[in-house]
Point group: C2
Chain length 199, copies 2
């Protein structure tokens, strides 16, 4: 049996996994779930993932795994996409936790609201965008000191941050004032084996 | 130089690190920061942690590390508090990402609002509590099948989830309907070397 990916075509969290699978040459079966109409989540994912989120994978042996960050770590550790050095490994996790706590809840949610006309109010959207820019400021600083990638070489930290940053304009964000982020987005997209979010 | 911990006495995220340090016998210096008045965060943490959050540590050699999950992994990997098996390691990370995305933003924030009278409205607090109970439901399910701990033995996944769960009542949550969570809270607290949040 191949790996099964409970997936959504526009979700950046799911794209992280598809991008890693493309880079590593991992075969898998996509099972699409909606990120708007979620009433079947408990039925489909209840036994598989406590967070009921996509992506969720089911491994070849039937064991489930949830959370994009945990899935990236499971498949990438031991490859070039996770560093060997102890401190660098922790820095990769630092950026991945930063993305889930301080970046995704603002940039991904603003994008989802605009794509599906879900914003509860203009004020709520403006607050998401304000905090999204705080995250982009932190990412721009993190790409300082002439570094090409967030840690040491192209890692799953870059994959995790790239997923929603490269489509931030769909959330109403303007990247014009972020030259390092724009150069890094191009660098990730130019990596051999890269696939776009709508592949 | 000892490890420096930028810390807050009531923050569950900081407590995770203090609890692990106590279990591992790691000496460190505490530097308190407020979690209410945050205007000095950029000045103090700007060079150390892109998320400007506590906990942030500075290692013996001067290198900084942020995000509680990354700090736990850095210090615990190689000890009994992180499993060796590849799948179990990913499950530990699954629970830690679940905590930061689906548990902490509701249970910790409701607690912070109630402790410091910060709730913007009763409706906002009720929504935080509703989603906090969803997270508690998932945790209760995760402790099923007669398991004593979330993965294989007492791990940093338990430390990460314990930190805010054991003080959830301060966020207005009633754990009476969660017998597995209550037994697990007692099990964690009974572990040799345990320290309370206010130690």
């Amino acid at each position: 049996l191949p790996v099964v990916l409970y997936d959504n075509a526009v979700s950046g969290n799911c794209y992280k996994v598809r991008l890693l699978f493309a880079l590593l040459g991992i075969e898998y079966e996509r099972r699409p779930l909606s990120v708007v109409e979620k009433s079947n989540r408990e039925e489909v994912l209840g036994e598989l993932n406590p967070g009921l989120r996509v992506p969720t994978v089911v491994l070849e042996d039937g064991r489930p795994l949830g959370e994009s960050g945990a899935i990236l770590w499971y498949f990438a550790d031991g490859s070039e996409r996770v560093p060997v050095d102890r401190y660098d490994r922790a820095k990769v996790l630092q950026w991945m936790f930063f993305e889930q706590y301080s970046h995704e809840p603002y940039i991904a949610v603003a994008r989802n609201w605009l794509m599906h006309d879900l914003a509860p109010s203009q004020e709520a959207l403006a607050e998401k965008q304000r905090l999204g820019y705080v995250a982009l400021d932190a990412l721009e600083r993190g790409l300082g000191d002439g570094r090409d990638f967030l840690v040491d070489g192209y890692s799953i930290a870059d994959i995790a941050l790239y997923a929603y940053t490269h489509v931030a304009e769909q959330g109403g964000f303007d990247l014009a004032g972020y030259p390092r982020i724009r150069a890094w987005v191009e660098r990730v997209a130019a990596h051999p084996g890269h696939i776009p979010i709508d592949a």
